[in-house]
Symmetry: C2
Subunit: 307 residues, 2 copies
């Protein structure tokens, strides 16, 4: 089964207590695609500039990712620069140069139109709606967003989530979007706006999936996957997108979408997030094996399961 992801492709300059990388391959669509590529066929839509190197593209192709939807535009690639301190949850953004991403207009190659799964990365909700409208036969559509759109385009975002199967966001975003500090109440408010399920990411504490009543055989009971206590978080950039990639990738690899598949998908999401932060940029996500992934899945199970 194929997943189509639309989102940012970036070059990131990142400093942390563990080192520094300059203009390393990044962006939400990139982290998502690499993580998902271990489970399913992945197709990417994004835009890059003239400074995007053949090596950058090769890192995606080596993972079997279809890159024909990555448009090359005159100018420079979206560049983000930031610095993490001892607390990996706190980042200081040094520069955000949108460059060619500022005028991004997603174009869907004809060969992508039969994708069964669609992940709408955190772009302008108006663009998310446009892409969604062209993907009528998708079995499951999931949507991510960021505080920027929650604050600047709440109405368009409400429209964008009306008909999606899932929304996948951070807990601070969920609180802000719902206007409620309590996550259970916030999730109920967001689910009432349309999505059948809501995944709230808790960073170093894992993620919780909340459901509209009687969706996916769950009733209203949420399910929670942990994150792994790691002794070195070298670079947290892209962890949430890697989570989403593992989550959607596992779903796309299964015949049926039911309670058990969603629970396992949440675990695989956390697994991919835990790999992402162990090295700078996308390094770790480029060279995994399915054995390593399933080995870590087992560690997650042992971390949480009674006999």
């Amino acid at each position: 089964m194929a997943i189509l992801v639309v989102g940012s492709v970036a070059l990131d300059s990142i400093r942390s207590p563990y080192g520094y990388v300059e203009r390393a391959l990044g962006g939400s669509a990139t982290f998502f695609a690499l993580a998902a590529s271990y489970f399913a066929d992945v197709r990417m839509i994004g835009v890059v500039g003239e400074d995007f190197t053949p090596q950058d593209e090769e890192a995606l192709r080596q993972r079997g990712i279809d890159t024909q939807g990555i448009e090359r535009a005159p100018g420079k690639t979206f560049h983000w620069s930031g610095e993490y301190g001892e607390n990996p949850n706190e980042v200081t953004t040094r520069e955000t140069d949108l460059n060619v991403f500022e005028k991004f207009q997603p174009k869907i190659p004809a060969s992508y139109l039969d994708s069964e799964y669609l992940f709408l990365g955190n772009i302008d909700p108006v663009l998310q709606i446009e892409v969604h409208r062209q993907m009528k036969t998708a079995k499951l559509v999931a949507l991510d967003t960021i505080l920027y759109w929650i604050e600047r385009a709440p109405k368009q975002l409400a429209e964008a989530i009306k008909n999606v199967g899932m929304m996948i966001i951070n807990e601070s975003e969920a609180r802000q979007f719902a206007g409620d500090h309590n996550l259970l109440r916030a999730s109920q408010k967001i689910l009432a706006m349309g999505p059948k399920a809501l995944v709230i990411k808790h960073g170093e504490y894992g993620a919780t999936i909340f459901f509209r009543e009687k969706q996916f055989g769950f009733g209203k009971h949420p399910f929670r996957a942990p994150a792994l206590p790691l002794d070195e978080v070298r670079d947290p950039t892209g962890a949430g997108d890697a989570f989403a990639g593992g989550f959607m990738g596992y779903i796309a690899s299964q015949e049926e979408l039911n309670r058990e598949v969603l629970k396992r998908a949440l675990f695989y999401g956390s697994v991919m997030g835990s790999f992402a932060v162990e090295r700078f940029g996308t390094e770790r996500l480029q060279s995994l094996t399915r054995e390593e992934i399933d080995g870590r899945f087992q560690i997650f199970r042992e971390l949480t399961h009674l006999e």
Copy 2:
């Protein structure tokens, strides 16, 4: 099996978005004892003043708690007053009147000396050491502390934890005590100081237990219990002590201390913490049934377990 707890008994005045209570029964030993009382015999050591009412003591006795170790001193009971906002993790302390607690000198009644389990609440580590020294036959000793002692008496605290089986603290306390933001590394540093196991409480995200190598058949793998997403956290006061009470209480109710018992104990700790915050003060912990507790244990299992 009997648990001896030594710690604070207080009267708390608490405001939250859900209401207000004045001079309600509280204190770390109280929350611990009430939570543990559903699993094992509990004996308390503490000090109260002349304003401690027969009704306050009756709330403990009704749960079968042995209160002969609660000393009555001239003056007033330890009084704490605080206010929670929309975010239950943030509290503004209005008053802390130590009163009779300031000169607290724990005295162990002879009938308590055969207690198999000992919980050293967050009092002066010098007093913790003294109590511990008198309880030579205890099978398991667990110790809690607070930032106050970590900052003011780190050497005494290091001495106090040298020979305990477990230390049970919040994650901010673990970070501060170990001088390391990373919780896995912090846990290794603290375990190297003596305890066989370390429980780190994450508040609304549950708790993780870390082990010294090859303790309790665990190897070095940690285990994590979640907290329950609740739609109303009315009063978070005492949640951590209720957690410790459920954790130690369950351990004391079992014949053997092994891997599986410790995992279940962590779940029971989270269960008792989740009950504690649903009502003001100790209200909810006074009127539970074992059926309600085991029902919620089952919900915790469903929240986290794959098929």
